[in-house]
């Protein structure tokens, strides 16, 4: 009885907290609701401040695929993001494995130097990288998109930190069984580090899908453009059809939102992954 009373008292004291969290949650979610709702309205209704969904989704969709290369941009974004994720995970996990499980003084020093690359802003390397990629005839290609992003200090650090949980005994046992070092990586390390791979995959996919500055620099051909570029170009015109635009924004957001809702735990781990 007293415990029950105690509990309801605790809940009552939490009322301001609930109110505050509800307000913050509403502010966080509302722009999403509004994006979806606006995508179903005419430009006129959007400008009138209509909050409720309307019946113009079909027309907006027809105008969108009629006026924009929507499927092309979606396909490009998927291709770039998936290829970048697969290659980045392979290269960076291999490095994390090497740095942690074969570590010695020299390798630790190399790792420390690599960390310095975290401080280099993208805008600083943009011009030399553009010249390099153009020189290799890789403008408008998936390779031009991924090359600067397939090896990041963040991912290497994440795999290196998480490799500490990989038991040395297992490696020794595998060696006695006659496995080579690379076989240990593929057959023992990869399956055991599944959750780290999942987190790394989510964060890499998100970053690749959302990239804007770099693709804007190297994708000079509209057939090679990404979703963020497509919607940015739609908005850059003099008159903007906001219903149409929000439908484009919705298409650009759907893949990352699915990833977010299905793999939220991995996403959170991916963000904080390297700082355990």
């Amino acid at each position: 009885m007293t415990e029950k009373k105690n509990r309801s008292m605790i809940q009552r004291r939490l009322i301001p907290t609930y109110i505050f969290l509800a307000i913050v949650s509403f502010i966080s979610v509302f722009p999403f609701y509004w994006m979806v709702s606006a995508a179903t309205n005419t430009s006129f209704d959007v400008a009138q401040g209509r909050i409720l969904p309307g019946g113009n989704l079909g027309v907006n969709f027809e105008n969108l695929i009629g006026g924009q290369n929507l499927w092309g941009a979606m396909g490009n974004s998927f291709l770039y993001a998936v290829v970048q994720t697969v290659i980045a995970l392979l290269i960076c996990s291999l490095a994390g494995f090497g740095f942690e499980l074969y570590h010695d003084k020299k390798k630790d020093m190399v790792f420390t130097i690599l960390l310095l690359a975290m401080m280099i802003p993208g805008v600083a390397t943009m011009i030399p990288l553009f010249k390099m990629i153009a020189g290799m005839n890789m403008l408008n290609t998936v390779w031009g998109f991924i090359l600067p992003a397939i090896s990041t200090p963040f991912l290497i650090m994440m795999f290196r930190q998480n490799s500490r949980n990989f038991p040395i005994d297992v490696m020794e046992a595998a060696r006695i069984d006659g496995l080579t070092e690379i076989q240990i990586f593929f057959r023992m390390y990869m399956p055991m580090m599944k959750s780290t791979y999942a987190a790394a995959a989510v964060i890499t996919f998100m970053n690749a899908w959302n990239a804007y500055l770099w693709p804007k620099v190297i994708m000079t051909d509209t057939n090679a453009q990404t979703m963020p570029m497509l919607i940015a170009n739609m908005a850059a015109g003099y008159t903007t059809d906001y219903g149409l635009l929000m439908l484009g924004v919705l298409f650009c957001s759907v893949p990352t939102m699915i990833v977010f809702f299905v793999l939220q735990k991995q996403f959170a781990e991916g963000i904080t992954g390297a700082v355990k």
């Binding site: 722009p31 090497g98 090896s151 998100m206 804007k216 908005a235 924004v249 957001s253 959170a268 700082v275």
Partner: protein
């Protein structure tokens, strides 16, 4: 003999380690360190991309930028965003993490998902959502006029002060949940009993927040600070998509201005642009160092 064999085995393993880390290390060297050196060399040159010459005096591009009113304005804008947005966002993020780390709180998962949700949007996407929300014929205007706060529609993105405010609001919206995740992870490492003890000692919520949460989260706070500085100094997507740097360059960021000087509307000037980019790099480095020094006050 046997000992020698063991040594060579270890050497073999060490070599395998080098082979494993080589691809990633080489890629970073080629795609980050070399471009940085190359950028510095370019920053000492002038002329268009095809025929560049050494600048005379050699640091001409660097002296030029401090006389460039537009560049100075972009620096001012970027630092304004940094000074206002980052502290508000980080305090809000810690506060939310603290509130969500309460054992007695119900619907915890729901609230966390909501606050975290803005991270699921591309930077371009949320810039455009905010652009349409704050448009002269937009929802915010309609609401404010209807409830009588404004007498007529206000051009938020067309006025320097309000356009800056919209960018700051948008940034806070997008990144607070992101930073909260770090603090939640950090708080989970703090024993709940520490809070129980504080409660018994009669400390109220505010006191435990400043007395326990903030000091124990210090390493996380420093890290999020460095990340936020790094991110804010490189702001690009918001400046170009939300306001296009306007009105009259009053919201333009450093990265946006640099972009305009290379691939944008103006005349391409790689030498000058890389000099400005190098300036951004030095700023990031200095601010990160200060942060680590200030934070490192153990003993």
């Amino acid at each position: 003999m046997e000992k020698k064999k063991g040594m060579s085995l270890l050497e073999k393993q060490s070599r395998a380690g080098w082979i494993f880390l080589a691809p990633a290390t080489l890629m970073i060297a080629i795609m980050s360190f070399w471009p940085m050196i190359s950028a510095f060399i370019t920053s000492l040159k002038t002329g268009s991309s095809a025929n560049m010459e050494w600048a005379s005096p050699i640091f001409y591009n660097y002296t030029r930028m401090f006389a460039d009113q537009l560049f100075l304005r972009s620096v001012g804008n970027t630092f304004l965003y940094l000074a206002i947005q980052v502290p508000i966002m980080l305090v809000l993020a810690i506060l939310l993490a603290q509130l969500l780390n309460n054992k007695d709180l119900k619907l915890k998962g729901f609230f966390r998902t909501c606050v975290f949700l803005p991270c699921a949007t591309a930077l371009v996407s949320y810039s455009l959502i905010f652009k349409s929300l704050f448009a002269t014929e937009g929802l915010i205007n309609t609401i404010l006029v209807n409830i009588g706060i404004l007498s007529e529609n206000y051009n938020f993105l067309g006025n320097a002060a309000s356009a800056k405010a919209v960018i700051i609001i948008a940034l806070i919206w997008r990144w607070t949940g992101y930073n909260m995740v770090f603090y939640l992870a950090g708080l989970q490492n703090i024993e709940y009993s520490v809070y129980e003890a504080a409660k018994i000692d009669g400390a109220n919520g505010w006191k435990t927040f400043w007395g326990i949460t903030v000091p124990l989260l210090k390493p996380t706070i420093i890290m999020t600070f460095i990340m936020s500085i790094n991110g804010t100094l490189q702001l690009f997507d918001e400046s170009i998509n939300l306001t296009n740097g306007g009105p009259a360059f009053s919201t333009i960021t450093m990265s946006h201005y640099i972009y305009n000087n290379t691939f944008g509307t103006g005349v391409a000037n790689f030498g000058y642009a890389t000099a400005m980019a190098f300036f951004v790099f030095i700023m990031v480095g200095i601010l990160a160092l200060i942060n680590m020094k200030v934070g490192d006050t153990r003993d």
